[in-house]
């Protein structure tokens, strides 16, 4: 999928597009934190209508190419390294969204398949 990222987009714009291409998965965005451990803390979670420009210092605009065979960890790293955005990927598991923290080595397709199996 091709995800165009710029300061004028909202968090929801990016979430919707991602979710359309990867059903059963979602991404959440976080404010910049002092250290990595706090990075994906719930208190840093930003609302859906926040503009991307409000949550990063890096103002780079561009298109992120996300492939089904990309590892979850790579996608998170690309968001951070290229666009200065801290994100977490979540997978739908028995009706609940669970972070993929411990399964970041799986590809997005594998994450999708895991959730799909449980839904069907």
């Amino acid at each position: 999928m091709l995800l165009h990222i710029s300061d004028s987009k909202t968090v929801e714009d990016l979430q919707d597009h991602f979710n359309k291409c990867f059903p059963y998965l979602k991404i959440e965005f976080y404010k910049e934190a002092d250290n990595h451990l706090k990075a994906c803390d719930k208190s840093n979670l930003v609302s859906h209508y926040t503009f991307i420009g409000e949550i990063r210092k890096n103002a780079y605009s561009g298109t992120l190419d996300i492939k089904s065979w990309d590892k979850t960890s790579k996608v998170k790293k690309d968001f951070k390294d290229i666009f200065g955005l801290t994100i977490q990927v979540f997978r739908l598991h028995k009706g609940e969204w669970i972070p993929t923290t411990y399964s970041d080595d799986l590809t997005l397709k594998q994450q999708y398949e895991l959730s799909k199996e449980l839904v069907q």
Binding site: M1, L2, K20, C21, F22, P23, G62, T63, L64, D65, I66, K67, S68, W69, K74, D78, D81, I82, K109, Y112
Partner: protein, 137 residues
């Protein structure tokens, strides 16, 4: 199908070859803007020649089979020629992303696009009754 990869051919000519073989699919070519393992890309100007957009281009034919999956076809272009590509499926006039269905073959995606683009068949019993038709006031 065979796509001719020759340095003096343009991106547009390649796209046409692909569309002729798969009318409900579209291939787009991208460039890497940074060393980011293909993550950051922008679409190539269709009038650009292949030599301008690929650093590892060797003249020759690339065989893209209708039995190749979207993933295989995309990887073929990227690995062999350093040309990041993305394949889209046309459905009711809209280009759809194929990322999560990239394990389907080009032929299957093309058929999906064609079938999904067909107008819905509505069965009208007998002739249309114009007496029941009103544009309102």
């Amino acid at each position: 199908m065979i796509i001719l990869l020759q340095s003096n051919r343009t991106v547009e000519q390649m796209k046409e070859d692909f569309s002729n073989a798969f009318p409900y699919l579209k291939i787009s070519f991208f460039t890497k803007k940074q060393e980011s393992e293909g993550a950051l890309t922008e679409e190539v100007d269709p009038s650009a020649q292949l030599i301008e957009v690929s650093s590892v281009l060797k003249d020759g034919d690339t065989v893209v089979n209708s039995t190749d999956t979207i993933k295989e076809a995309e990887q073929k272009f990227e690995k062999q020629y350093g040309l990041p590509v993305h394949i889209f499926r046309k459905q009711n006039g809209v280009w759809m992303d194929t990322t999560i269905t990239d394990d389907l073959t080009l032929q299957e995606q093309n058929t999906w696009g064609r079938e999904a683009s067909k107008p819905l068949k509505t069965k009208i019993d007998g002739h249309f009754n114009w007496n029941n038709f009103s544009l309102g006031k």
